[in-house]
């Protein structure tokens, strides 16, 4: 009897430390943030002393042109980063999916950028983009080409390039792993039927890789909204608001403008946005699975 009860308690005992820590340090803070977003709250007050202002912070942000600007910058950044990385990463994986010597060395070198601290990545790129001493402009100059104002007029493009440098390998490695685990039989059959390289890619490889690609895409999308340090070091959001993504704006509202209530409301908007993307992506996968199942059923009926 005692043993039976101990067995029933076992999973909870295994689960308890993680559940307690996540409840204290993730869920409770998130609830605290929602609560705080309804208050005019500055860092020197505790939350109880802050005045309750209802939805004022949310309405203020809804009409705030700076917030709109930074929302647009965030969406642009996320869109370009994810789509370009997906394009380049999958393209490279399709190109390099061959038996060549030293592939493992190559992969090691490719994951290097991902492991380095975002702060350091920002530092490297800030140096390379430097208007006078930076690598890009000195190279352009030595070729007799005009200089480019990387972190001025083209700041958004420059941070997108830096992110592509750091994270394309992630997509490359995952798609390569997916490619190499594809069933050989389908590819052999296509070859025998005389499919060209492009036909193989479009009709066989890409559809079979789709589940992995969608997960990868989702992971990158979520991460694109987390990027902060690289941009902070490279441009600090400037010039103007041209690179001030939401995460950066939240941290500046909290630390520079000392408006914790507004920052909390902004965090909630960001969370809602992320939730929307995640759910949309999830539903899309479900819909695709359902369609694939229907197709499979139809084919079986034909037989």
């Amino acid at each position: 009897m005692r043993i039976a009860r101990a067995n029933r308690l076992t999973p909870y005992m295994f689960m308890a430390p993680a559940a307690i820590i996540m409840a204290i340090a993730l869920l409770y803070p998130l609830g605290y943030m929602v609560w705080g977003s309804f208050r005019a709250w500055n860092p020197s007050q505790s939350i109880g002393e802050a005045e309750f202002v209802g939805l004022r912070n949310y309405i203020f942000l809804w009409n705030d042109p700076n917030f709109h600007e930074s929302l647009i910058v965030t969406l642009k950044f996320a869109f370009f980063v994810v789509s370009l990385e997906l394009l380049i990463g999958v393209g490279l994986a399709l190109l390099l999916d061959r038996n060549i010597r030293g592939m493992s060395v190559l992969r090691t070198l490719f994951i290097l950028p991902m492991m380095i601290a975002p702060v350091v990545v920002g530092l490297m790129w800030r140096y390379m983009y430097h208007p006078t001493v930076g690598t890009f402009n000195t190279t352009l100059e030595s070729w007799g080409l005009p200089k480019v104002d990387w972190l001025g007029d083209h700041a958004l493009m420059s941070i997108i390039i830096a992110d592509i440098w750091q994270w394309t390998p992630f997509i490359f490695i995952l798609s390569l792993a997916a490619l190499q685990s594809l069933p050989r039989s389908a590819l052999e059959a296509a070859k025998i039927d005389g499919a060209t390289g492009w036909q193989q890619i479009i009709h066989i490889k890409l559809p079979l890789m789709m589940p992995v690609l969608i997960v990868t895409c989702l992971l990158r999308l979520i991460d694109a909204f987390k990027v902060l340090e690289v941009i902070l070091v490279m441009t600090a959001g400037g010039p103007g608001l041209s690179t001030e993504i939401l995460a950066l704006r939240i941290s500046r509202t909290a630390t520079e403008f000392r408006e914790l209530g507004v920052a909390a409301a902004m965090s909630n908007y960001l969370l809602i946005l992320l939730l929307f993307f995640t759910v949309a992506m999830f539903l899309f996968t479900k819909w695709q699975e359902a369609r694939a199942r229907r197709l499979a059923a139809a084919i079986q009926e034909d037989d």
């Binding site: 430390p17 860092p43 060549i100 902070l232 939240i250």
Partner: protein
């Protein structure tokens, strides 16, 4: 047959060379520049013709060097202290996350219990929360709520022994930063380890149970040794995040608990950047992750693919 080495055309190798150059180039550039004097960096001589100097590293490490440095009157960058803080925080949070995370992953995979689906879904959802979102509540809570009263038993003891004023709060301590890192990394570690634990054959566990092992013995003596590759991968990823994180550490740390990323950002924000020194500090921060990459790239790739492909 698949292992046959095909002959590729030269353009293919050229492409690979370009890719390698592109991914490693910036890191090499920083490495080279960290051995240059500021004069050499600014004069724009991109060539390799310069006299390498370790002066930048000396400036960065001035608080831990055992000898006097001639070119420096005052030690402004306390890199040594920050490095030790980073090391303590990253190592402790990695170990804690791994222990707690693999226990939770094991429970989620092997047991059917009430609330399992809720826990599993919550874990997935909190994975998408950006650190910036946690900034405000964590700042508020760690400073105002997660405190011990200074008149209380433990709080009074800490104030007496460590000094200082006010209530004893989590903010500004190593444990405060460690707590949020553990919480932040747990969902990810649980997610990765689940896919490794699923592969452990149930029969092994049952055999151990028949031999009279309790659930904890089964877990620590049978399951843990079998998922070592997964643990290695999870450890590297957790360490990487704890080692590299800037935002939350900057909100929670005080003068004595600063980590290296904070040090770098603080020295960058000034208008006149000392490129040589800052690149030397950057290089020192990047060395542990680079070492991991070179020696454990297989585990890293396994971990990455386990998280996305199988998940």
């Amino acid at each position: 047959m698949a292992a046959k080495q095909e002959r590729q055309n030269p353009a293919f190798y050229a492409l690979i060379a370009v890719l390698v150059f592109m991914s490693v180039g910036p890191v090499l550039l920083m490495f080279v520049n960290s051995f240059k004097l500021d004069v050499d960096i600014i004069s724009g001589s991109t060539g390799l013709l310069f006299l390498p100097t370790i002066q930048n590293y000396e400036t960065a490490l001035c608080d831990v060097l055992w000898y006097e440095i001639d070119h420096l009157d005052f030690c402004a960058i306390k890199f040594g202290g920050a490095f030790i803080n980073s090391l303590i925080i990253a190592l402790v949070s990695t170990v804690l996350t791994l222990i707690i995370g693999c226990m939770a992953a094991y429970a989620l995979v092997r047991f059917r219990f009430m609330g399992r689906d809720t826990v599993s879904l919550t874990t997935l959802m909190v994975r998408m929360v950006p650190p910036a979102v946690l900034l405000v509540p964590v700042f508020g809570l760690w400073n105002n709520e997660f405190c011990l009263d200074k008149d209380g038993l433990i709080g009074g003891f800490i104030r007496e022994t460590m000094g200082g004023r006010g209530d004893v709060c989590l903010a500004g301590t190593h444990s405060g930063i460690i707590l949020i890192y553990v919480a932040m990394n747990l969902p990810f570690v649980i997610w990765i380890l689940q896919s490794f634990i699923v592969q452990v054959p149930r029969s092994l566990e049952e055999a151990a149970r028949v031999d009279g092992a309790g659930p904890f013995q089964v877990f620590f003596k049978v399951v843990l040794p079998l998922i070592k590759p997964g643990l290695a991968a999870a450890a590297i990823f957790t360490f990487r995040i704890a080692w590299n994180e800037y935002l939350l550490a900057s909100a929670l740390s005080d003068r004595d608990t600063k980590t290296v990323p904070i040090l770098i950002v603080n020295n960058m924000s000034e208008f006149n950047v000392e490129w040589g020194v800052i690149m030397a500090t950057g290089m020192l921060l990047a060395i542990p992750p680079i070492i991991f990459t070179l020696f454990a790239s297989r585990q890293i790739i396994t971990g990455m693919t386990a998280g996305a492909v199988k998940g």
